[in-house]
């Protein structure tokens, strides 16, 4: 129930964001604060997701094989590797550490 409620609410609100421009605004400009927030919000949110998905588990801080995957992903991104390669390397290195008992 929680899943469907989340899914449908998120779909509805996201669709309103997507359609506001083409259907309602028709190319009119948004208030500068909205434009500015739309540009700024992804960075802290994505960074928070990276940290929460790597260094926490069920409400506590953890340090495990996922950290290795993240470091490998960061190196791959720094070396300008394609997105596909980054994701595969992160999975492979995490899997390797786990196979070695890490």
């Amino acid at each position: 129930m929680t899943v469907w409620l989340t899914l449908l609410s998120l779909a509805g609100i996201t669709y309103l964001f997507k359609a506001a421009g083409p259907v309602v605004l028709g190319g009119r400009e948004l208030p500068p604060l909205v434009v500015r927030l739309a540009d700024l919000l992804p960075a802290p949110l994505l960074a928070a997701l990276v940290v929460v998905a790597t260094f926490t588990d069920a409400g506590s801080w953890t340090l495990d094989a996922r950290a290795v995957g993240l470091v490998v992903a960061a190196v791959a991104l720094w070396r300008k590797a394609p997105f596909v390669v980054v994701v595969i390397l992160a999975a492979a290195s995490t899997a390797l550490v786990r196979a070695l008992g890490g």
């Binding site: 929680t2 899943v3 409620l5 989340t6 899914l7 609410s9 998120l10 779909a11 609100i13 996201t14 669709y15 964001f17 997507k18 359609a19 506001a20 421009g21 083409p22 259907v23 605004l25 028709g26 190319g27 948004l30 500068p32 604060l33 434009v35 540009d39 700024l40 919000l41 992804p42 960075a43 802290p44 949110l45 994505l46 960074a47 928070a48 997701l49 940290v51 929460v52 998905a53 790597t54 926490t56 506590s60 801080w61 094989a65 995957g69 993240l70 992903a73 991104l77 394609p82 596909v84 994701v87 390397l89 992160a90 999975a91 492979a92 290195s93 995490t94 899997a95 390797l96 786990r98």
Partner: protein, 241 residues
């Protein structure tokens, strides 16, 4: 006019290649999303429901990550909504080239994502912008949903296999890949770092999902309400997304 037609064909080919590369890039992300849904105990219908109806990668992942940690629907929706706010800006950028009857514009708007806007703004001509928008948008929509199904089915109920193959590590890697281009900018790097610290510190003390939503507060350090020259001088066509 013949010359123009040849240029037009070449330009369309360039946009198709561009679209193909972004479509290929989302494929592993789609598999990871499907797997994340399975890991969180969701059904195939729910996984595909997210990918067709929400169809905004970052938001889907954020919501499912919150739910998987046992977060409430409100926290999951809020995390997802904050990440899809940029669709509003994309809509304004793409609106001038998405013409036609209102029902058609409403339908086309579901394809309003990072990739379709990026390819849709990769040329100057309105017809070519529209072409790029649909080439990338439809391509990503089809591949995103197919790979969601693959991820959900191949890794359904296989938590052990997900861990053994390191599939769970693809999610933070994908988020890192999404935020990476933003880190080149000093201001974006500062708010990203602060957001990460806020979320990390809050994890043990507040309910799941709240740390991610709270990370949004990091933007106050750059005073977004104050007018900045970079935004004010940006062309209305919104180049450089």
């Amino acid at each position: 006019m013949a010359g123009a037609t040849i240029d037009d064909a070449a330009e369309r080919r360039r946009l198709r290649r561009l679209a193909a590369s972004v479509v290929a890039a989302v494929a592993p992300f789609g598999v990871a999303f499907g797997a994340a849904c399975s890991e969180a105990g969701m059904s195939l219908a729910q996984a595909v429901g997210f990918s067709t109806l929400v169809f905004t990668g970052g938001s889907q992942f954020a919501a499912v990550t919150v739910l998987a940690d046992g977060g409430a629907a409100v926290a999951a929706v809020t995390a997802g909504v904050l990440l899809s706010l940029r669709s509003l800006a994309y809509g304004v950028v793409m609106a001038p080239v998405l013409d036609g009857p209102r029902w058609w514009r409403a339908l086309s708007a579901q394809l309003m994502i990072d990739e379709s806007t990026a390819v849709g703004t990769a040329s100057d001509d309105p017809a070519l912008r529209r072409y790029g928008y649909f080439a990338a948008g439809l391509g990503v929509f089809v591949v995103w949903n197919l790979t969601t199904i693959i991820g959900a089915v191949a890794f359904g109920d296989a938590v052990d296999l997900i861990l053994r193959l390191g599939i769970d590590a693809t999610i933070p890697a994908a988020f890192l890949g999404l935020v990476w281009p933003r880190l080149a900018d000093d201001e974006q790097r500062r708010i990203a770092a602060l957001g990460a610290v806020i979320a990390f510190l809050l994890v043990p003390v507040v309910p799941a999902g709240v740390p991610i939503v709270a990370a949004a507060l990091a933007v106050v350090i750059v005073k977004p309400w104050a007018a900045t020259p970079t935004v004010e001088s940006a062309p209305p066509a919104g180049e450089g997304l």
